[in-house]
Every structure is written in structure tokens, then in C-alpha cells.
Symmetry: C2
């Protein structure tokens, strides 16, 4: 990509955790020549980001970090978007594009529109992550082969939208566009409800009287460990997701509760055919996810090959 | 291990799916010199097992397969244990030890005791598996670094128990002993309830009107895909697990439902502190699982490194 083709010349990243750190690294790896600046509200995170050279410059204020940027990507928990936007507003250059990486979109779009009137705001959500957090957790390839959903408002500037698409494609992501409300419904089922259920069952398992926590941990390879990964995700981020996407999450949870009650009845009634039918239907979805490159078909994702490497010495 | 030290001379495996195939392979890899014979009720599976050389001999009947064996390992769904035991009974040698790999234990112990009166029966459950099934799915290292729970009856022969422990340790497993009822309670929370919930949410997601199945698949990397792995497990096996461990599963499900209702209330009431507290507690369990070598701490279990390899061409 020549300098003239770069979608942006200077990207500012606000919030330097897993996502912000990954955006900063992805810009440097995939768009050499683009200036990267950053800021985090936590001074310890700013120090660490400077120590590991996460950006060309880490500003002590959000306004200082965004000065001169033609793209700002807000990578803070969705409940902190409005405050972060207000803090940086005095430093914004004319013509700057504002985006984010939040996991819910209607609430973020409203908060940013209110905090930054007249600005070009195009919210985004890269559907990628790990259970790690902090400035050291990110990596440039986090978005590769993952989907990034853009939710441009109806009056978004098509040129700015095209530049943002080019940025995410440069990171290796596949881009899809939809409205914020539909995004929130889709993600309620593919991400928010799974996290809620994972957090719930891990809590249930740690509160039992007749089964010890040590037993739960020892025998977690029977299925439980698959839930613990996502239940180890950042608590602030997820608190905000559930508060901001409350209605869609509650709607999906209602469906889930109804379906779980039906399975409970089938077990109580020893209804083998009903259980078998249900358990057969779900295999096709797994196959499609692997065919789409959204998961790894190796047994245990290669966990058994590597178990030795993760053991305590 | 010299021939005199081998815990068994001839192991017969009844049921040649993921677990049976892995037991056969593990015997050959870790105990060279031990004869392995096998049988599966499905003629197509027997043919395939012969074609890939899974055992020294595949018998056309269970009774033929167990002739001369000093250990028989039943690797059939837990609901089929009684029938499988009766089918092989005429071929059993004097002094043979009978074990299994079923995921619930009290029901299996009762079925085997009834079908094989006077025999040395020591049920077992290796807590290991993948979502794959069939004779090609197994691998010798499946049990390495995993726990195998033995549930010997009160009157079990201590020498037979010691031999079975030696077998599983030769496979690389760590062995724990407990009574069948406690096993079923522990596994209800670490394995059976997670599977039930995973099957449920994958079903819920595939039945929505306003979110398409294609969207669920595309955006599954947000958390949903972690559930689809275990929801792709063998339907017959899991039907039988829920039917045979009904009471413990229903008890754990009752706990889970109560906890989920509390989280639902917190979301409905926009109770941020309650959500944050709950989401913080669950991180410690994840850390312990990784420290115990029961999971892989690499981001995405290395999924992101390998996503390209699993894509359709």
C-alpha cells in the first residue's frame, strides 16, 4: 500500500487493554508508515504501554493523544464511551473519523452522538477476543479471519465508511455492515448470552457443598473447562455489555430458559427420543462453524498435544 | 515394563468408538506385548476397525472377542452396558476383570453387577474426550495428563484394583478413587450440566426468527463457538448419560437455574456492582484449571494461529 492509498495517516487508540493493544499492533504491522498514538485512563497502563513501545506516543490525556489524528478508535468498556469521548473532544482535529470496538452498538452510538455532535462517528465491533486483558494481552493477528461488524448511522459519510472498511480489511478481518439494533440482537445470542451462562455455571460450580472446588478443577476436562475460558473475561467490560444491551439479552435469555425447561422435562420424564433428537440437531451448526474457519477442528483444539506445556513445573 | 510386570496380558475392548479406539491404541502404544482384541455391535465399525488395524483381532461377537482376555473394557454408551455385558458373558475367562469407561457410574455399576454376578467388576471413567466419534476418532494420547476416576465396589479385590490403576497410569492418566454416587454428583457439575447447557443454547440459537443461522455461524467467535464443540458430542452417549444420572443432573440444574435467575434480576435491575462481583469471582477458577494442566492458556487455545488451516479451500 503506498502512502497515498493508506486509509488513515494517524490512528489514535483510547484505552490500551486487549483490544486497544491489538488495534495498535495491527496498525503497525499491517499499515507501516501510519502514526499510532494512544492513551489510557490508568497511569500504570500508560507506563506499561510506553515500556513495551505499543505506540509512537502515549499521551497523558486523551485530548493530547488524539491531536492530529484522522481516526480515533475508542477501546474502553462500553459504559465508559461517553466520558472518554468528552475527555478527548477538545483535542479532535477537523475531519477526524471516530470509531470504537465495543461489544454492543445501539447504546454506544447514542452515547457518542451525544458527546460528539457534528462529528463523523462510525461504530464498529470486531468479533474477536480472548479471556486475557491488559496492555500486554493484545496481538496483531487477533482480527485475522474474524468478522468486524460496522454499524454506520443512516447519514454516515460513504468515504469515511470506505476508509474504515479498508482499515479492518488491512488487519485481515472480514467486514459486514448492519444497523446497530440488529447487531445487538445477533450478538446477544452469539456472544452475550454465552458469556452470561458461562459466568453463571462457573459460579454455581464454585458454591457447592458436596462437591469441592478442587474436584471441580480436577475434573473440568469433562466439559466445564470450555465455559471457564469465557468466564475469565474482563468483568468491567462484561458488566457494561449486559447493562447496555439489557433488552436483547433478556429476550434471548427468555428463549434459553424456555428451551432449558423443555430439556429438563425430557430428563425428568426419561424421554430418550426427545433428548436424542435435540442432541442430533446441534451437530450441523458445529460443522458449519468449522467450515467457515471460525474454529479449529483438531481434537481439543490441540489441547491434549500441549497439556504438558501448561503444567506447573 | 517387563512381561512379568504387565498388569494384564490380554485386553478386550467392547465398543470401538472414540473411547474404545483410544483405549486400544493406548494399550498398543504404552503396553507393547499385551494382546488387544475388540468387538463392536455395528458390522461397519468392525470392518473399519479391521481395515485400520485397531486390534490384533476383531471378533464378530462380543463373546468371541473376550475369549482369553484377563481384562475387558466396555466402551459402549452407558445405557447399553447391561446388554453388552450379557452378550459377552458366555465368552469370559475365569478371573477376568471387567471395567468400563462410562460417564456415569452408579447405574453402570448396578447394571454390570446384575448382568455379571460373581465377576470382578471395577467401573472406571477417564475424564477425557473430544466431540469426535467413531473408530477413526481415537488416539493413544487422549488420556495423557487427564484424570481417570475408578469407583470400585466395597468388596473389590485390591489386587485387581491395583492392576487397573497400573493400566491407566501406563496410559499417562492420573488416577483417583471415589464411590460411584459421589462420582455422579461431581460429574453432574463438571461435565453433564455443561453439556446440557451447551446443547440447549446451540438449539436456542438455531431456532430464532430475527437472527439467521448464517449470522449465528459467522459471529460465533464472540463466545458461542465454545459451546458448539461440546454440543457436537455423540447424541446416543449423552442421551444415556442424562437418563442414567438423572437425579444428580436435575439437582445441579436446579442450582444453576436459581443462580441464573439471580443474574437475570441483576441485569433487569441494572445492578452493575452485583454483576461485577459475580464476574470477578469466576476468574480464579480458570487460573486454577490452567495451573493444574487441564487446559491451555494460549489465547484462543491457538485457534487464531490455525484459523487459516481449517478454512474451506
Amino acid at each position: 500500500m503506498t502512502a497515498a492509498e493508506l486509509p488513515f495517516r494517524h490512528v489514535a487508540v483510547i484505552g490500551l487493554g486487549l483490544l486497544g493493544g491489538s488495534v495498535a499492533r495491527a496498525v503497525r504491522e499491517s499499515l507501516p508508515g501510519v502514526v499510532v498514538t494512544g492513551h489510557d485512563a490508568d497511569p500504570a497502563v500508560r507506563d506499561r504501554a510506553r515500556a513495551i513501545g505499543l505506540a509512537d506516543r502515549i499521551g497523558d490525556s486523551a485530548a493530547a493523544a488524539v491531536a492530529g489524528a484522522d481516526l480515533v478508535v475508542l477501546c474502553v468498556p462500553v459504559g465508559a464511551m461517553g466520558d472518554a469521548a468528552r475527555a478527548m473532544a477538545p483535542g479532535l482535529a477537523p475531519g477526524v473519523v471516530i470509531s470504537d470496538v465495543g461489544s454492543s452498538k445501539a447504546g454506544v452510538a447514542a452515547a457518542l452522538a451525544e458527546a460528539l455532535p457534528g462529528r463523523s462517528v462510525i461504530p464498529a465491533h470486531p468479533v474477536a477476543g480472548t479471556e486475557q486483558s491488559g496492555p500486554d494481552a493484545g496481538f496483531a493477528s487477533l482480527f485475522r479471519n474474524r468478522w468486524c461488524i460496522l454499524t454506520p448511522p443512516a447519514d454516515a459519510d460513504p468515504r469515511d465508511l470506505a476508509r474504515l472498511v479498508a482499515l479492518w480489511e488491512a488487519f485481515g478481518a472480514r467486514v459486514e455492515t448492519m444497523d446497530a439494533e440488529h447487531h445487538d440482537l445477533v450478538l446477544a445470542v452469539t456472544s452475550h448470552l454465552p458469556h452470561l451462562i458461562a459466568y453463571c455455571i462457573v459460579g454455581t460450580a464454585s458454591d457447592l457443598e458436596r462437591v469441592t472446588q478442587s474436584e471441580v478443577i480436577k475434573f473440568s476436562a469433562g466439559g466445564f473447562r470450555d465455559f471457564t475460558r469465557i468466564a475469565a473475561s474482563d468483568p468491567t467490560m462484561w458488566r457494561d455489555v449486559f447493562l447496555s444491551n439489557r433488552d436483547a439479552v433478556l429476550a434471548m435469555l427468555g428463549r434459553f430458559n424456555r428451551d432449558l425447561a423443555a430439556l429438563e422435562t425430557a430428563i425428568r420424564d426419561s424421554d430418550g427420543p426427545e433428548l436424542f433428537d435435540h442432541f442430533t440437531r446441534t451437530r450441523a451448526i458445529r460443522r458449519s462453524i468449522i467450515e467457515m474457519g471460525q474454529d479449529d477442528a483438531r481434537p481439543d483444539f490441540g489441547r491434549s498435544d500441549h497439556a504438558g506445556a501448561t503444567e506447573a513445573p
